[in-house]
Symmetry: C2
């Protein structure tokens, strides 16, 4: 049921079978159809989501009405609107399945309890959040140091399979330009 998550946790800390059994009742596992939403603007984000299989994306709608993708989560990544999740306030974001996705969720009303019952998980989440922070530092540098074309070519060389996996308009907004411009870049060579 939750083996994808247990395997991931065990990459960072040792979680015994007994501890897994304590954790299990606090989790929920379910499928999300392609294009279905786990969160929409105005709603309060109910859970922190772990992707067991598939792909979720976090985006918002800008003043001009365009979707701006700010994050993707593939296998073994957590995704949520952290502010909305932690403080149970209305979100300005959408979380949508970019593909048919298998999700494991920890809901807000059990989040603190989880750390209380399994303090070991403080370490797991600290390490995950450190990875997130590394990724953010890399991403900001990347956004500030290259032109749109360089960003695309660089991203494409690092994650060629992923570029094939999602529609170009999602990728374009994630990389900070328009789908038309991405089309232009590709046509070049």
């Amino acid at each position: 049921m939750y083996s994808a998550l247990y395997n991931h946790i065990n990459r960072f800390i040792d979680l015994s079978t007994g501890e897994q059994e304590i954790l299990a009742p606090m989790l929920k596992s379910f499928s999300v159809k392609k294009k279905a939403f786990l969160l929409t603007e105005g709603q309060t984000c109910r859970a922190n989501y772990f992707v067991a299989k598939g792909c979720l994306r976090l985006y918002f709608i800008d003043i001009k009405g365009a979707e701006q993708t700010t994050q993707f989560a593939i296998e073994n990544w957590w995704i949520t609107d952290l502010t909305s999740f932690l403080f149970q306030t209305p979100s300005e974001f959408y979380i949508q399945a970019a593909e048919a996705t298998e999700v494991i969720a920890i809901e807000h009303h059990l989040y603190d309890e989880m750390f209380h019952k399994l303090p070991k998980l403080e370490r797991y989440f600290r390490l995950i959040l450190q990875k997130n922070h590394q990724a953010s530092q890399r991403r900001i540098k990347f956004l500030y140091s290259q032109t749109a074309e360089e960003r695309f070519r660089h991203f494409n060389s690092l994650f060629p399979e992923f570029v094939q996996r999602v529609p170009q308009y999602m990728l374009a907004s994630y990389l900070g330009f328009t789908p038309e411009f991405l089309s232009k870049i590709r046509a070049k060579k």
Copy 2:
């Protein structure tokens, strides 16, 4: 000596006097003169830095030779090049004092030991990293949703004192445009 840090930690968890005494020998406290460096490109980042007083900034030099500020840390914020710090690899960043600054540092060779001796701090750092992650999500949205002028006006309305505190060229690169353009915006009104 380390009271600024102890106070900060106690906002998130309860750290007893005894525990403070365990922590103390793993910390270092020192002053950094304005414009002095805690890290330069090519060096390995030795520590994670907590600002007790003053202001540090993290920046890199882009292809055109311009400084790009990617992060500021004022009182009660931690700052480091996390990848370089965790894996002890050469950094592409500089950490410099934007003002005369009082720093409390935890060095790499004591970082794991700190969590081993004081597992409570796993929680403190998880909570800090959550705040960081919230800040990153906010920042990315901010960068993607507004024009340069809007970003400046918005930032200025949120943090007017901070805008006065640092040179405009640092702020301009942090907000993602040139000092000349910032000058132009200001002249407008």
